[in-house]
């Protein structure tokens, strides 16, 4: 019969239409929030979701996975006396590995001796050119540059971030990437312990 295929197709959409309400009602009956709750969002992006599973942006947002990457930032450690210890040593690996070449590093010299000091005098990232590939964070040997999670940075003019704008504390990094942070801290502590053990060990005569 002509039109049977169309009816068959419509039965699929019809089922989907009711699935949404059935799911909504069963969640409401069990007292759980299907919308605007972490549990609800997780359910709607799992294999068990039925009906429509739209995330009502901007009222609710998808949960950002830890590895999500968007424009880099520079990490500094807060020392006990309140000073900032910038991890970057201006070695230039990030600038060399950057595919669109959007990183400029101004190196600093010691004012007395004139020798280079391992702290950047300034650091520019042209955010409009950055392609969010994450190579700088991947190849940095000092864990000094990391990819951010903040993607709401639309602007109407060219944005070139300087050192001041790029610096964020290590606590912020620990907050957005807890697992990576824990692994790196462990490695750092192991390295320092090994260094201390080496220094403490009596020198061979």
């Amino acid at each position: 019969m002509y039109g049977l295929g169309i009816l068959k197709g419509l039965s699929v959409t019809w089922k989907r239409y009711w699935d949404t309400y059935i799911d909504d009602i069963s969640w409401a009956m069990s007292g759980k929030k299907r919308y605007q709750s972490e549990e609800g969002i997780k359910h709607r992006s799992s294999k068990n979701t039925k009906g429509i599973f739209t995330i009502q942006y901007p009222e609710e947002q998808l949960i950002t996975p830890e590895e999500f990457r968007f424009v880099p930032f520079l990490v500094y450690d807060e020392l006990a006396d309140g000073t900032k210890n910038i991890r970057c040593t201006s070695c230039g690996i990030c600038a060399k590995v950057c595919p669109p070449q959007c990183i400029w590093i101004v190196r600093s010299n010691d004012p007395v001796t004139g020798k280079p000091v391992p702290v950047p005098a300034n650091y520019y990232i042209d955010i409009d050119i950055c392609m969010n590939c994450g190579f700088c964070a991947e190849y940095c040997p000092f864990d000094a540059i990391k990819m951010d999670h903040d993607f709401n940075i639309a602007s109407t003019e060219r944005s070139v971030y300087n050192l001041e704008k790029l610096l964020k504390p290590a606590s912020y990094y620990a907050e957005i990437r807890p697992q990576n942070y824990a692994i790196e801290e462990e490695a750092r502590k192991a390295k320092e312990a090994a260094k201390a053990a080496k220094a403490a060990a009596p020198k061979p005569a």
Binding site: G3, K8, R69, V97, W104, M147
Partner: protein
């Protein structure tokens, strides 16, 4: 693993003594043919030796030797190793070699591309115009002595970034603050666009005949695009119509051209990976796969075992989501707005969630590295993939088929339209699902296995009619086969390291050439690379399936109705990021 280029099966030099010689440069393979004998040798290759599929044609500018070279890669559709042959000409304008369009129609666009970007002319080419750059453009950009307006240094990394650290805006390098370069005596005030004439002249002409009893009709030229919602981006097609019937058409492309290959030649090997994401932006995983496979061939390195499985899993997930978009967008173009395409997008969304969790980005994944992948797939994510593969995707594919396949309107629009026969498909160098729908079971995962595809049990999806309906149905067949591969891959994935190499951002490849190809969801995605032993590729070419498959559009459309043309563009599954490169 047999690599196609290294296992040469036919000795052309013995077949044509005194004419053909083996390419003896270290790291190179294949045969050198004098341009006078090219047509003769190519005809023998096609008709006697069975190399019926000429997949790739590209140029290389050897400026130091003062030579220009055109490189051809031919394969057999029955599978197995291919053959490489090259023609060299003196690097003095005008350069000309014979065209092979009468043997393989599929080289038409590729020869135009070589003319456009290298300035090598092809004698007897039916329509030798620029293809990616605009008519009136000054110079041939892929020549080694051509420099872009924002030129800074020959290769990256640039000194101004580090150690100098002087920030400047690239656009300040050009007085127009624009990415444009004009001929010397150019006056924008006096410029008149007159080059369109060439395009319209290339269209089929319709002669008015006063046949008895027939009304005299005039033909009309319609420009579809570049800003047309059905053309999947900025594709423009000039169509000559007789009433509603298409009598000739020419695609016009290059609106999204950024010379990906020139950018690639400025980049280091590592820096190209994120740029390949932007080729076919729906399948960045597949693009990464093709590129790293080629460079691994050049570097002669092995891939870590666990990484091989992860690569296959990601590539097959990418194929599934690509075919889902294809189905959604095809039906969107047929006039059924939103509902089917959003149904298709739902499963894609779940796949993209996995991509985001492993790579950090939904579409620009940048996930593969030479020798492995960038980071491991955690047990949580592997469980998510298993849930999708075992529980959700098979059922949802069934639902999608129940939803659409028997719909009378869909069947009426697709069945019997735009038939492409197997011979024509091969002759037009069409690859991927479009070729398989025409009845040629040619899938690189079987025909020339790369990575670990030889370990999996799956069938090559093939349909016989070559019409739109088969092209549509074969996508579902392929989704099913991909699910089969995924089931085996997630079960068999071993523990172990995810990269066989130490992280190194300054990779140097030994001098030589490599052509790597994979079965991307759209067809054969090939990369041809030439290294001169430095940290940057000397030549980097992308054989984009969208670009080559589009060659057949004129053949398929002629004599059909204009409204079916829109469906055909969707059916060829082109992506402008890859087509314009």
């Amino acid at each position: 693993m047999a690599t196609a280029i290294e296992t040469q099966t036919v000795d052309l030099a013995a077949r044509f003594p005194g004419i053909v010689s083996a390419d003896s440069r270290p790291g190179y393979a294949g045969f050198m043919i004098p341009k006078e004998n090219l047509v003769e040798v190519a005809t023998a290759l096609r008709d006697e030796l069975g190399y019926d599929l000429l997949t790739s044609l590209t140029g290389v500018d050897y400026i130091a030797e003062n030579k220009m070279e055109v490189v051809y890669h031919a394969y057999k559709t029955t599978g197995g190793a291919g053959i490489v042959f090259k023609v060299q000409v003196e690097r003095v304008d005008p350069m000309e070699i014979p065209s092979l369009t009468h043997l393989w129609h599929g080289v038409e666009f590729q020869e135009r591309e070589v003319w456009d970007l290298f300035g090598i002319k092809f004698a007897n080419h039916p329509d030798l115009r620029r293809i990616l750059m605009w008519e009136g453009f000054d110079g041939h950009p892929l020549r080694k002595d051509w420099r872009e307006p924002f030129f800074e240094e020959e290769v990256k990394p640039y000194k101004s970034r580090w150690p100098e650290g002087k920030h400047t805006f690239a656009e300040d390098k050009n007085i127009f603050h624009d990415n444009l370069k004009f001929p010397k005596d150019f006056d924008p005030e006096k410029y008149v666009v007159d080059k369109e004439e060439d395009l319209y002249a290339s269209l089929e002409r319709y002669t008015l005949k006063d046949e008895a009893g027939k009304m005299k009709t005039d033909h009309i030229v319609v420009n579809l695009g570049p800003h047309h919602p059905s053309t999947h981006g900025v594709l423009r097609v000039a169509v000559t119509l007789d009433g509603e019937t298409v009598i000739g058409l020419k695609p016009v492309m290059g609106y999204l051209h950024r010379n990906h290959e020139k950018i690639g030649e400025r980049n280091t090997y590592l820096q190209i990976i994120p740029y390949t994401d932007r080729l076919d932006y729906f399948n960045s995983m597949s693009n990464n796969f093709g590129y790293v496979t080629t460079v691994e061939k050049l570097l002669k390195i092995q891939v870590a075992e666990r990484a091989e499985y992860i690569r296959v899993i990601m590539a097959e997930l990418s194929r599934i989501q690509n075919h889902l978009i294809f189905v959604g967008m095809l039906i969107n173009d047929l006039g059924s707005m939103y509902t089917p395409s959003l149904y298709a997008f739902e499963e894609r969304e779940l796949i993209l969630d996995i991509f985001e969790a492993v790579s950090g980005s939904r579409m620009m994944c940048n996930y593969y590295r030479f020798g492995g992948v960038v980071r491991d797939v955690s047990d949580d994510i592997l469980q998510k993939i298993k849930d999708l593969v075992f529980d959700r995707l098979p059922a949802k594919t069934d639902e999608m088929e129940r939803f659409l396949n028997e719909n009378e309107i869909l069947v009426g629009r697709l069945k019997g339209t735009h038939v492409l026969s197997a011979e024509e498909a091969i002759n037009y160098s069409v690859t991927g699902p479009v070729l398989r729908a025409a009845g040629v079971p040619y899938d690189l995962r079987r025909a020339d296995p790369y990575s670990i595809y030889d370990r999996f049990d799956f069938d090559v999806a093939v349909r016989q009619n070559g019409d739109m309906m088969d092209n549509y149905l074969i996508r579902f067949d392929e989704i099913r086969q991909s699910i089969r591969i995924l089931e085996q891959a997630v079960k068999g994935i071993p523990q172990g390291p995810i990269n066989s190499q130490k992280p190194n951002y300054q990779i140097k490849a030994p001098a030589g050439e490599a052509y790597g190809r994979i079965e991307s969801p759209k067809g054969e995605l090939g990369f041809y690379m030439v290294s001169n032993g430095k940290g940057n590729p000397y030549r980097y070419h992308v054989r984009a399936p969208s670009f080559v498959n589009l060659t057949a559009i004129e053949k398929m459309c002629t004599g059909t109705k204009i409204q079916d043309f829109v469906a055909l563009v969707a059916m060829l599954d082109i992506v402008m990021g890859e087509l314009d490169r």
